[in-house]
């Protein structure tokens, strides 16, 4: 039986109050939003904060507001994101990503901010305490070695957020607030390619808001590889946002890969290659190969690692064909097993 460790619970009602408590607690404090990832982790002792600072009563974290683009409160549940008409119609990639996070129950609890800050995952890490103790723990928690690649100097746990690749492709920024002040960060800068130190968020900072630029002229999409159409974490995420000229020539494009590294990242070469071109089958195939060369899946999650690398071009192809305007509904049904 795995039970939660003892902890203190604070439920502030404003961001300022939450930031003040967080600053006061230092490394012993942790923020909790939906808790769908943190609470199971606490039961297995991956995280054992002395104090949980709940964001659920904090006002001003649940807004969906228009501005120069769209502003989304970090406290919106993923279900609320999915139900947002603005997201569904203008930021399709984010909508598709949010709709594919875990299962309906978890989306009802889990938040957008929580998914962006999701702890990295690994077969050697996401286990119960006994199991981890039996192998002498791992680098990410209490141990010294990365069992995925014992020669590795850094932790290879996988970034498993679906919303981040989609938001990076869409050019999103995030707002981080602390007792000392606040800053805006382009979303890619929130992440480090390190399974342990995977966020650049400082321990006293609260992610409060996601800011999306105007969507006019842009199309976006997100394709997720997982074994089952519900529940599973991504084994590969392909997000693309593109702006094309009336003749179909790509003017701007961002192709982002998720779940094949410790961070979601822009596949720069593939993205640059596509600019100025029309999305012909040949161009798509070449972009797929370019993107695949950047994917470094490790044998620390579900399904065969070589196969996961091998299918990257296919998934990049699905995404680019959807951007091109192909009818991908049948393929979507086969991969996601739901309409998206």
């Amino acid at each position: 039986m795995m039970r939660l460790p003892w902890f203190k619970h604070a439920s502030p009602t404003s961001v300022a109050e939450a930031a003040r408590i967080l600053a006061g607690e230092g490394p012993r404090g942790m923020l909790i939003a939906g808790g769908t990832d943190l609470l199971p982790n606490m039961k297995r002792r991956q995280q054992t904060p002395a104090t949980l600072i709940s964001l659920s009563r904090v006002e001003g974290l649940k807004h969906i507001a228009n501005g120069s683009g769209l502003r989304l409160g970090a406290g919106l549940t993923l279900t609320e994101v999915v139900e947002s008409k603005a997201v569904r119609e203008q930021y399709r990639g984010l909508w598709q990503a949010a709709a594919q996070v875990a299962s309906p129950h978890l989306r009802n609890m889990g938040t957008l901010g929580g998914n962006l800050c999701l702890d990295t995952r690994c077969n050697y890490y996401n286990q119960n305490e006994d199991w981890r103790e039996a192998i002498g723990y791992c680098m990410k928690k209490e141990g010294k070695t990365c069992w995925v690649a014992t020669a590795s100097k850094r932790c290879l746990a996988v970034s498993s957020t679906d919303s981040a690749p989609a938001l990076i492709a869409l050019g999103a920024k995030v707002r981080l607030v602390s007792a000392a002040g606040e800053r805006e960060l382009a979303l890619p800068e929130l992440y480090n390619n390190d399974g342990m130190d995977y966020l650049t968020r400082k321990p006293d900072e609260i992610l409060t808001e996601v800011m999306l630029p105007k969507a006019e002229g842009w199309r976006s999409t997100y394709w997720k590889l997982r074994r089952r159409g519900s529940f599973d974490f991504p084994l590969l995420g392909v997000a693309v946002a593109a702006r094309a000229a009336p003749d179909g020539c790509i003017e701007e494009l961002r192709l982002v890969l998720g779940a094949v590294s410790s961070q979601p990242f822009l596949a720069g070469k593939a993205s640059d290659f596509l600019v100025g071109k029309k999305l012909s089958d040949e161009v798509i195939a070449e972009a797929g190969a370019l993107a695949a060369s950047r994917a470094k899946p490790m044998d620390n999650t579900d399904l065969d690692v070589y196969w996961r690398k091998e299918v990257v071009p296919s998934f990049v192809g699905y995404a680019l064909r959807e951007i091109r305007g192909d009818d991908m509904r049948a393929m979507r049904m086969r991969i996601a097993r739901q309409e998206l």
Partner: protein, 493 residues
């Protein structure tokens, strides 16, 4: 050992061994030892059909076993609806228009199976009944039935009430079931071997039949008709052919209690002795066998190996469905579990790095990472219940709890071959294995992924039994070649 039940086999050899491993302890799961040989048998038949250029459904249909026969291994087959099962799934799925004719990447596969309706030999080595039922009738007309059988969601309480109600001509809502409590109820050996409907049902039939006899006798006296003319139906007890001579069920109970004192009956059930008398004859005998046939349609993506199952057709020879809704639920549940086995369920072990211990450990010791299919993976299932009542069963009802799972895995493997021409000779059939086999095919190599060899096993000397068709008597005998060798030995010395 259930292998010879489906297709005519003049002779049958079975080697087996138990292997000690350091893996987690195993336990029975739906089908209990049958899925593994059945997978091999049904995939092998598909390969034979391919080689002989025969339709795999016709190949099977032309060699199904017959009702009321003995297999080469001395298992007694009673009713047998396999041929009808094959015909129904072939017709229902449009097999003839689909097999070998769907566009590349889509295919259909067929497989059949059979399963026991209760183990003919008790798991406890004694001669006592396998199940017992007690019935008590009180003067309000309330019937209470006691049995150790445990309702685990499969609907055994419903079967128990239905058998009693049908025999007494009352509604199931007049029957109260007291089950599962070993302190109150007579014994039932448990929910395994798909035995509860048959064994508990037969015991309930006996108990209810005895109660019925008392009610009939008392009512006949009262209504002044011959007991043979008494009919119990819809809560009434009346004379056949004379509607004026009638009373309610509760009145009949009152008359019977007046005549006999407090009413209570018992019933029990012991399966018939298996026809085989040799040492291994206790494995596989059953009072009745269910039959299933299944057609699975798959879509396989040739670039990724991604597999999708849009639809499954399954026909199950249940003898008689006592509750068709629950029976269909059991069939669909079996398909669900079978499809999980076919596509993803797996215990994966990995070797720890040498630095740690080099030991094999469970890769996924949690249900979060142990993948079984969800409702989104579950295809539409079309169920055909084939009803051919078996005389050994209560109202002819055979098992449905385990049989329908068995053909799913080989049918998926056979469908993958029909879709893209590769053989995946093991489960789970994952996209990675399909893609690996597709690469082999493109390279001109044998397009097959599966175990490369079977381990060397020092099997024990087999028991030799002459099959029924060759004049055997069901006992062990000396194999002819061994006799010849012994004679040669004697001659040499």
């Amino acid at each position: 050992m259930l292998t010879p039940l489906t297709y005519e086999l003049p002779r049958f050899k079975f080697d087996a061994c138990r292997v000690f491993t350091n893996k987690p302890a195993c336990g029975p799961k739906r089908g209990h030892g049958t899925p593994q040989p059945r997978f091999g048998q049904e995939v092998q038949l598909d390969k034979i059909a391919e080689k002989l250029k025969l339709d795999p459904a016709d190949l099977r249909l032309n060699m199904v076993t017959k009702a009321n026969t003995l297999t080469a291994s001395w298992l007694k087959i009673g009713s047998n609806g396999l041929a009808e099962c094959i015909r129904q799934v072939v017709a229902g799925s449009g097999w003839k228009q689909k097999h070998g004719k769907l566009p590349q990447g889509r295919g259909v596969g067929i497989a059949c199976s059979s399963y026991m309706t209760g183990a003919g030999v008790s798991i406890y080595w004694n001669k006592m009944p396998h199940t017992g039922v007690q019935l008590s009738l009180d003067r309000s007309g309330q019937v209470t039935v006691f049995c150790g059988a445990t309702e685990v969601g499969q609907g055994s309480d419903d079967v128990l009430a239905a058998v009693v109600a049908e025999t007494l001509g009352i509604s199931t809502k007049e029957v109260r079931c007291v089950t599962g409590d070993t302190g109150i109820t007579p014994i039932d050996l448990g929910s395994y071997s798909s035995r509860v409907t048959l064994m508990m049902g037969n015991a309930a039939l006996q108990a209810a039949g005895r109660a019925r006899d008392m009610l009939v006798t008392a009512a006949a006296e009262q209504l002044e008709v011959a007991p043979a003319d008494i009919v119990l139906s819809r809560g009434r007890v009346f004379a056949a052919g004379d509607a004026s001579k009638t009373m309610s069920f509760a009145e009949a109970v009152v008359y019977a209690e007046t005549k006999y004192g407090t009413l209570g009956t018992v019933g029990s059930y012991t399966p018939p002795k298996p026809p085989g008398k040799f040492k291994a004859a206790g494995v596989g005998p059953s009072p009745a066998y269910s039959y299933s046939a299944c057609v699975v349609e798959v879509e396989v993506d040739e670039h990724t190996g991604w597999i999708n199952v849009p639809k499954i057709w399954v026909a199950h020879d249940i003898g008689r469905a006592l509750n068709p809704t629950l029976a269909r639920g059991q069939v669909i549940g079996g398909i669900y579990m079978g499809l999980g086995e076919a596509l993803m369920e797996e215990q994966v072990f990995r070797r720890l790095p040498p630095k740690l211990s080099n030991a094999l450990v469970h890769k996924i010791p949690s249900l979060l990472e142990y993948k079984s299919i969800t409702s989104l993976e579950m295809p539409e299932v079309e169920v055909f219940l084939v009803e051919d009542p078996d005389p050994n069963c209560p109202f002819g009802a055979k098992e449905v709890g385990q049989g329908p799972l068995l053909p799913v895995m080989p049918a998926v493997a056979n469908a993958v071959f029909d879709a893209v021409g590769v053989r995946i000779d093991e489960v789970p059939i994952t996209p990675e294995k399909i893609l690996r086999a597709l690469h082999l095919k493109r390279e001109g190599k044998s397009p097959r992924v599966g175990p490369e060899r079977f381990p060397e096993v020092p099997y024990v000397e087999p028991t030799f039994v002459i099959p029924p068709g060759e004049g055997g008597d069901g006992t062990e005998s000396k194999p002819p070649q061994r006799k010849a060798a012994k004679a040669a030995e004697r001659a040499a010395s």
